[in-house]
Symmetry: C2
Subunit: 509 residues, 2 copies
Amino acid sequence: MPVEQWDLYEAALDGPAHGNPFREVHLTARFRHEAGAGQSAAAVETTGCYDGEGRYLLRFMPHLPGTWRWETRSNDPGLDARRGSFTCEPASGDNHGPVRVRDTHHFAYADGTPYWQLGTTCYAWTHQGDALAAQTLATLAGAPFNKLRMCVFPKHYAYNRNDPERYPFAGSRQAGFDLDRFDPAFFRDLERRVAALRDLGIEADLILFHPYDRGHWGFDAMGAEADEHYLRYVVARLAPYRNVWWSLANEYDLLAAKSRADWERLGRLLRDLDPYGHLRSIHNCHAFYDHNRPWITHASVQSGRAVAGWGGAAVLREAYGKPVVFDEVRYEGDIDQPWGRITARELVHRFWQGTVAGTYVGHGETYRHPEDLLWWSKGGVLRGESPPRLAFLREVLEALPAGLEQIGHDDRTPDTAYAPGGHYLVYLGDRAPDSWPFRLPVNPGRHEVAEGARFRVEVLDTWHMRITEIPGPFTATLRTGRLAVDRAGRAVPLPAEPWQALRITPLPG
Amino acid sequence: MPVEQWDLYEAALDGPAHGNPFREVHLTARFRHEAGAGQSAAAVETTGCYDGEGRYLLRFMPHLPGTWRWETRSNDPGLDARRGSFTCEPASGDNHGPVRVRDTHHFAYADGTPYWQLGTTCYAWTHQGDALAAQTLATLAGAPFNKLRMCVFPKHYAYNRNDPERYPFAGSRQAGFDLDRFDPAFFRDLERRVAALRDLGIEADLILFHPYDRGHWGFDAMGAEADEHYLRYVVARLAPYRNVWWSLANEYDLLAAKSRADWERLGRLLRDLDPYGHLRSIHNCHAFYDHNRPWITHASVQSGRAVAGWGGAAVLREAYGKPVVFDEVRYEGDIDQPWGRITARELVHRFWQGTVAGTYVGHGETYRHPEDLLWWSKGGVLRGESPPRLAFLREVLEALPAGLEQIGHDDRTPDTAYAPGGHYLVYLGDRAPDSWPFRLPVNPGRHEVAEGARFRVEVLDTWHMRITEIPGPFTATLRTGRLAVDRAGRAVPLPAEPWQALRITPLPG
């Protein structure tokens, strides 16, 4: 049975069930691609994993169509030197492969399709049972989000005091957990959900450690050896899912039991374990992590300030020279916590601010609920006003060439972003001018504007989700070497309301 | 003859003049402090340097009063095992010792006196001959600046095409330079000027490498071995001056001959060579250096945007967890370059923006001149309007307790800074409100405001340099757990002009 490119190939092998196979049986496989004409040979080393009851899984995400042959190595004679093969067919439909960094500050799928990160957060949605998980997936199917931040470990925190049905490890909270033995059923549940997100076109930003335990289960302080054993098992099972991202920790600086040296060790181990090079980052509470570290592929930052005002997001992008995702900018909601009670208007504003800075933003929702069903933690249904506005933003972004970057002559309120090919996106935020003087920044050698170039101008009401085209093309003339204006001196009329943006599109000359 | 604490002790020894002493003679000395009652023993290893004509210098900056004894080690028998001693007296007058990092994001002198960085830039002032250098020093004596960025190597760039009188190395541009032999006369000139700055209370931010050579002399591409030989000699000669800071490079990313690995190697070497631990950084053009690197003590950043708008500077401070100095934010001037033609108002605005973000800013002046005497490069006289306003800012800062940090309820325009003890500095920038509702942000556990606390409020006109006290104390009452307002609901009247600030000072209860 053929497997599609970047889909999951899985072979199950029978092996020993005695002793502790999680610790005692080592299984790896080498997957070799049969190079066709004009193809170079490719081979990938993977690690198998024990799935319980004498069952061992070999999983693999093929990145090339054609025939793949595999052979195992194991310290168990019965599992050693086993062979197999399968056919991989080209990707089809919405399968574009895993997301990679592209052009320093942006993302694209492996097949080159641009990926505009528009994330949301349901930290503990996989720990709430099937009924609520099914509702969460149904909600996501109709929502604009293409990435979801979610924890592997259960969460013990305000609005989320309930224990999960299953745990990553054998044992129980009462009897204690056996950190040497995993519960494969827990991981099968997790994988079903990761696969369901994949089928919805949603990246699963898997949070591997978090501080929301505080002695309740002890998973935040297992010790270095158990941390690494856990990491090896999670990566072996989940790395073959193309939509996986690795978030080493959420609010790493609240995990008292781990030092910066621990995070560096675990981050490098994560990079070395994953044969597919999925995206890797680590998320802060108070103190930004050093996202210049080589094992980090993109900055995952908590900061409201950086995207609430002008300028912060673009400056941080310069500091890291990597894609910057503001995964937590405070949440739309009404709980009695400053981080969980901003308005939908403010959250949508922060998305647009991050966007014109050439960065990416994440959503979360924290409206009080009689049964503590807060989207940000448990999933369920969305009740806020921001999602349709974020769907509008996503449509605007997906109509642009990839690679927005902030440019502009006005350092004070840097509101203009450039996309390759002479597209511009201007966001005016809470200012409510009644007109916008048509002016395009020119950066010699980088962002040129040809004399006489013609542009279509549309006014985007980011809150009411209205697009108004301004009649007649605007024709650029260079006023100075660094500024182009409309030849007829025209300005763009605006409704004198806040939250307006401008989409400026080049017309064929 | 006694030496004052943190002043320069120097002993000259006679030794061999034949061969190449710069390369062939190794001389070190161990300075040992005679511990008195309640003092722990201290010892410092220093490197001597050849000063020409058979003359060898032992230099030392003593950090403790009392008796210091030294003994040399050398591969030259005549210089080996030489001994001496001197008496160090406590620092007096304006001698506060070298500047160190304090409280993560700030600076203080070694004796604990706060240091509020207010820098300026005269890259090539030591290469313009004595007359102009004397004029530069006279100008600095009447200017508000307490730090000067200056290059060791001469500069070949727009407005600075003239060759210097002397070079760090023996030889000439025509005949070529002997990178194995230094010109001690060049360094004596440099040291005279560093000492003159010290006596004016000005830190010398010595730029060790820069790109403004481009084949004219070749000092930007000497090769790793010559770079390190140069670094050893400069540090041996200049580290004993208490007012030295090390700027490994200016616009490091324009030095095509050096890679990131070169900068890391040189940065670590610099740290290891300097027995006094002077401040170390490296300055960018386009790409911020990774200021999280351990050998870097503070971030030296070129960015106009970070301090022109709200929020950028504070976000960058979070990213680095070190003091941030915006050494280049564009210069007051009128040359035909975007980086050299902002107004004095804009430059002063950028200083205030950086200040309320808890960061530090640098000045530069680039007004056209018939003989190309631009302050930013050659020094001379200041002709701009910003220096008196920066003197006003310095007075305001030096009246505050050390340790400004941005706080506040308004992420969108973070305009309020807090200083220990309940002092506040609010900067309103280009907004021109006719009143300011008295409101102090409260961060439980960090920035508390006591019910009934009383404050004096002054309006500071940062451009016209006027201080207006608002009658009667304001009395705080907590409106919410995160906001204190005036008990009588009073607002602070403002002149409805831009560039206003508020100084809020706690009164005895």
